[in-house]
Amino acid sequence: MALEQLVFLVFALLAIVTSLGLVIFKDPVHCALSLVFAFANIAGVYILLGAEFIAAIQVLVYSGAILVLFLFVMMLLQVRPGPSLNRLRFFQSGFGPVLGVAFLVEVVLVVLTSGFVLNGGNITKPNNTQAAKMQAGVEYSVSVNVIQAAGPLTIQGKADGIQPNTVGHTAALGKELYSTYLFPFEVASIILLIAAIGAIVIARRSLVSDEEEDHPKRRGISLGSVPAQGSLQAFEVERQTSQSQRRKEAKKRTVILKK
């Protein structure tokens, strides 16, 4: 048990540290990388909880797909300021291996200590078949839905964690997702839809407003008339617009992250 908690602590602490890194690092590439790391650690925590499907999704979708996409975009657009990498080379060369080793240790610990995992230590045992796990998983998932459970509650869990015989399972999860939790699931899909619409609108409209600059008498709270070309004000306006665009993008990014 102590080791299990130790593993959890390592995952959790690393997740926190790397999340802080995401905020603190100046270079967006570093930020993205530390986010990948954070996601990986969170996936580890999921595994500890016996939710291996979510862990897999976490790694595949977030770390694998979205963040790699981010990195591509960043590198293609050359958002990163140039020289910072050089200055940090020493730090990189020193810190990188340490992190690498830490990550390796984590993985090894997970593999070796799987007997301590909450599923009753049965992952490596021969009777740990898919079917057995599924049954355990179904019991867990169904019993969560206390409304449908006619009998006494099967979960007595307070803060002391989840029943030892519970293991998440993909099929059961899917079944639950499309029956009991259909409603929030569908609403979540609507959330994704409007996030997409919003991103498109905000991105598209910048083009529209660029096209239609020919409105000298625009009125508004802070919309003055268009300053003369090449004047100081024009320069200022341009700077501000690009700033706000950058802010928008940052926002968009976070919106996508939320998915």
């Binding site: 079917a131 599924m134 049954q135 179904v138 169904v142 969560v144 839905n145 206390v146 409304i147 449908q148 509650l153 979960i155 007595q156 869990g157 307070k158 803060a159 099929a171 059961a172 079944k175 639950e176 029956s179 009991t180 939790y181 259909l182 409603f183 929030p184 609403v187 979540a188 609507i190 959330i191 839809l193 409007i194 996030a195 619409i197 919003g198 609108v201 905000i202 409209r205 910048s206 529209v208 407003s209 239609e212 009125r219 508004g220 709270i221 802070s222 919309l223 501000q240 617009t241 706000s244 802010r247 928008k248 940052a250 926002k251 976070t254 919106v255 939320k258």
Partner: protein
């Protein structure tokens, strides 16, 4: 195959989470959803010139949803039906909230076009995202489960984040959107954390089950688990952000000021009412046993909220910002109603008190929708005509547009709580609930606050009626007519007067709306 069959036989035959009948119960939500999707699609197909018709489509959707909600009410007025395995509850509380949100949506559509066209805001997307936001709020109002609360709040909030940033070439809009977004997701994180704690403590996300669990724990052990208190605090903080209660209000002024004015009007009303709906659902259905704790917290927050909102509003020169602070203050008044909640413990007189408390929140939210959107509506009118949003821009409004000035005065007096407007009745009812729950001190603070608030509302009235129009503003005047805006203002003024002079039907509906919550509470406490 046999393997799969084996699995399926072992899995308990889970029935579908809804039937066709159940589907009836989310008809209003469904209509709004279809409308929102249609708006996106039709916007693409329609030629640019005829896009004004989108407003009619959106209105049709909202009115259709209202009609559907009304049909469900008249089919069975005492309905209380859970569907989607406890996620969605169709009862009168849901109904009243739907009315609030749909009216918000309708008025939000009506006040938008002229302003948005002038500022190159794409109308199709505006309408559809707004409709999605309304959908989110409706889901919150009808939620029976923490998960539904969460996804509903997220749907409405994310839509509003996008709307806030709609005026892209306006720096204020971007800034407001960013602030709103960042603080909003922080609040969401806190909220989810609180939900996780609640789940951990009670083993369920279903609100009624949570209530039952807490009640049974409460009855078995005299000292309550501090974990559940912690969960409650986290939830309160999360909802506090959503309703803009002090000290979680910091995003409000910038977001309201930065957003395009029709959006400010919409977001000062809708998400706030949704926040209150969620607060009441979670606290009253899920944690009635803890009401001694959360009512006192809410009472203290209400004092802070009212006082800060009103005092800071005095110093504002921008009417938009002033209305932002005034909306904070109104959050405080509504919170007074929530704070008046008393857990019944089987005492029948307390049931009346509970009903007063919740129905006062509902009726105040409804009235607040009208008066606040009305005030913003005149602001939009003014911005359409001459661009500014300062108090000085209101100078002499009574001269060049007496009807607009009259409407503004009506809305402001209503906000200040002066009869014979709806705002007075709302305040009367909230204070009544609070006094009945022995919160006289709170109502005295509330009354003093509304006197303070009269001061800054009066400033605008003074500008409109007593000050002459400046030459500069005369030169800026560009007469603009908008059928939709006029229609909205007429509806609002009539509604404010009707709610002030003959509030009984609305009040009855609100009282009906509050009733199902207590049946749930009673059931949780094991009473018949």
């Amino acid at each position: 195959m046999s393997f799969l069959n084996g699995i399926l036989s072992q899995v308990q035959p889970t029935k579908l989470s809804f039937t066709g009948d159940d589907f009836m119960y989310i008809l209003p939500e469904f209509i709004v959803l279809v409308t929102a999707c249609l708006l996106v699609i039709v916007d693409l197909i329609l030629p640019k010139k005829s896009r004004g018709g989108l407003a009619w489509l959106a209105l049709l959707g909202y009115v259709g949803a209202l009609a559907a909600a009304g049909y469900l009410y008249y089919a069975d007025a005492t309905i209380s039906h859970t569907t989607f395995s406890g996620m969605f509850v169709r009862d009168n509380f849901t109904l009243f909230n739907e009315i609030i949100f749909l009216i918000t949506g309708i008025l939000g559509i009506l006040i938008s076009p002229t302003y948005s066209l002038k500022r190159k805001i794409p109308l199709g997307e505006l309408y559809s995202i707004q409709a999605f936001s309304v959908l989110g709020m409706m889901i919150v109002g009808g939620s029976g489960d923490l998960m539904a609360v969460f996804v509903g709040i997220e749907l409405s909030s994310i839509a509003v984040y996008i709307l806030t940033g709609f005026a892209r070439n306006d720096r204020g809009s971007a800034e407001g959107a960013l602030k709103y977004f960042l603080l909003g997701i922080m609040a969401t994180a806190i909220l989810v954390y609180g939900m996780a704690w609640t789940f951990g403590m009670t083993g369920s996300t279903n609100l009624r089950e949570i209530g039952r669990q807490i009640a049974s724990q409460h009855s078995t052990s005299s000292n309550m688990d501090s974990g559940i208190t912690f969960a409650m605090l986290l939830l309160l903080v999360g909802f506090g952000f959503k309703i803009a209660a002090v000290p979680f209000h910091v995003w409000t002024p910038d977001a309201y000021e930065g957003a395009p004015t029709p959006i400010s009007a919409f977001m000062s009303v809708g998400p706030k009412a949704a926040g209150f709906a969620a607060l009441i659902r979670v606290m009253v259905e899920g944690m009635p046993t803890l009401s001694n704790q959360w009512t006192i917290i809410i009472a203290v927050l209400a004092v802070l909220t009212m006082t800060l909102g009103n005092v800071v509003a005095i110093a504002q020169n921008s009417v938009k910002r002033m209305l932002a602070y005034s909306s904070i203050a109104h959050t405080g008044y509504i919170m007074v109603g929530v704070a008046a909640y008393v857990n019944s413990n089987g005492v029948d007189t307390n049931v009346a008190r509970q009903n007063d408390s919740i129905s006062s929140v509902l009726i105040y939210s409804l009235i607040y929708v009208f008066m606040n959107i009305g005030a913003f509506g005149i602001l939009i009118y003014l911005q359409n005509q001459q661009g500014g949003a300062e108090v000085d821009d209101f100078n002499g409004l009574a001269r060049w547009s007496p009807i607009a000035a009259l409407a503004m005065a009506l809305c402001l007096f209503s906000l200040a709580g002066i009869p014979p407007t709806g705002g007075f009745f709302g305040k009367f009812f909230v204070f009544r609930a609070a006094i009945n729950s022995n919160l006289l001190w709170l109502t005295i603070i509330g009354a003093l606050n509304s006197a303070v608030s009269a001061f800054f509302y009066l400033r605008v009235v003074v500008a409109m009626y007593f000050n002459p129009q400046s030459e500069e503003s005369k030169s800026k005047l560009v007469p603009t007519r908008s059928f939709f805006l006029t229609a909205a203002l007429v509806i609002i003024c009539v509604a404010i007067l009707v709610l002030g002079l003959y509030p009984d039907p609305a009040l009855k509906l609100a009282q009906d709306g509050a009733t199902p919550l207590f049946q749930v509470v009673k059931a949780a406490a094991g009473q018949p």
